[in-house]
């Protein structure tokens, strides 16, 4: 995997722009997932995750080939997501009328495309609910929780992505879990 990725990167660096599409295909789902979980909105997730690839392309020369490409890429995606959250009005989701952003949700978007059986609807509602709970976390805990439980990354990798010592990553995961527990305990 790493050898393949490095070969593609070399080709892109030599000027083969089309080779970059292979990199995008390899990582698009993971990068999109990080952005979507951080932002909770499909349009913003698409915009930010595409922007992340764009940044990766234009800054490819600053990527250290000795390190894992995914770590570098996820770092860009996480930073862009956090920037996007900061630019939003802090109380945006509180004032937003119920249903106002419904069509921007990943699951409702899938659901809109087809008639779904009852159990699927329940499943999607469940997924939406979890996503909403994740979105309620402060961004610094949110990113740690997403990288650990949705991307299955090691503490070391999470530390590299968030540019934090492992001890700090642990603390953030603990606090994130604690915050989620308080909200989910009665469910």
């Amino acid at each position: 995997m790493d050898a393949v990725v490095k070969k593609i990167i070399m080709e892109v660096k030599k000027g083969d722009q089309q080779a970059f599409a292979e990199l995008v295909d390899l990582y698009k789902d993971k990068v999109y997932q990080i952005s979507y979980r951080m932002l909770g909105n499909v349009h913003e997730a698409q915009d930010v995750s595409q922007e992340a690839f764009l940044r990766a392309y234009t800054n490819l020369d600053s990527y250290d080939m000795n390190r894992k490409f995914s770590t570098w890429l996820f770092r860009i995606a996480t930073n862009l997501s956090i920037d996007r959250i900061r630019k939003k009005k802090p109380d945006f989701h509180l004032d937003d009328p119920v249903g106002g952003t419904e069509d921007l949700n990943y699951y409702s978007q899938i659901a809109a495309d087809e008639e779904l059986p009852e159990d699927k609807v329940v499943q999607y509602e469940m997924q939406e609910w979890i996503q909403n709970e994740i979105s309620e976390l402060p961004p610094k805990y949110r990113s740690a929780i997403i990288l650990k439980y949705l991307e299955d990354l090691s503490l070391k990798e999470i530390g590299e992505i968030l540019n934090l010592p492992v001890a700090t990553v642990k603390t953030r995961i603990h606090r994130g879990r604690e915050a989620l527990r308080k909200r989910l305990r009665h469910s």
Partner: protein, 215 residues
């Protein structure tokens, strides 16, 4: 909260398996007697399970195309260089065909620009009007003859080989050819013959000279 706050941190370390065996044993002992901590741990486990139950989302189908469309436009020379690097053989063939078609078309087309030519030594004469090389009766050609764009009539003797390109060979009953007679009339076989020898050279040239890196 009746139990000490430090115990909560212990619970998280326990979940992360981030403690010594002794600490682990001590906490497990504590959990047996403290329902509050036991409840807390259960809630944390449930929380993790809920978070992990989210299905993986996938990027929309047009995602990659969207990224590629947003990339800065490459200048033409970059594209050309890249393409050249990826397809050295196709490029070589294309360049070759361009050169070759030009030369072949002038070579093969009759009339102007395709005069009869002869390579070889001896007493033959060229009938330009009929486009025929004639080796007269009684004459002997010591070496080889190569005739392009015309025929050859051998009434005398040829000791070497005769190659007729784009023409015919007529051997009169009195004439004699000691060597081989080759007629190369098929345009395609001629192209094939030339392609084989040319192609290896052209490909070598392009592989040997890598274009300089742009910055």
């Amino acid at each position: 909260m009746a139990c000490e706050k430090t115990k909560i941190e212990q619970l998280h370390k326990y979940l992360d398996e981030d403690m010594t065996l002794l600490e682990k044993k001590q906490l497990e002992q504590h959990l047996k007697s403290c329902s509050e901590c036991e409840q807390h741990l259960r809630e944390l486990r449930k929380t993790i399970a809920i978070v992990q139950s989210t299905s993986h989302v996938e990027a929309p189908p047009d995602f990659t195309a969207g990224v590629m469309n947003r990339l800065p436009k490459q200048s033409k020379p970059d594209k050309w260089k890249t393409w050249m690097r990826k397809h050295p053989f196709v490029l070589a063939a294309a360049v070759f065909m361009l050169l070759f078609v030009t030369s072949v078309s002038s070579f093969w087309s009759g009339g102007t620009g395709s005069q009869i030519t002869v390579q070889g030594q001896g007493n033959f004469h060229i009938d330009e009007e009929r486009s025929v090389v004639v080796v007269p009766e009684g004459e002997t050609i010591e070496g080889n003859l190569i005739v392009r764009n015309g025929d050859i009539e051998v009434e005398g003797e040829v000791l070497g080989n005769i190659t007729v390109i784009n023409g015919d060979n007529y051997l009169a009953s009195a004439g004699h050819v000691a060597g081989e007679i080759n007629e190369v009339n098929q345009v395609l076989s001629w192209i094939w013959y030339e392609t084989k020898s040319f192609m290896s050279e052209v490909v070598n040239v392009f592989n040997g000279s890598d274009p300089p890196e742009e910055d």
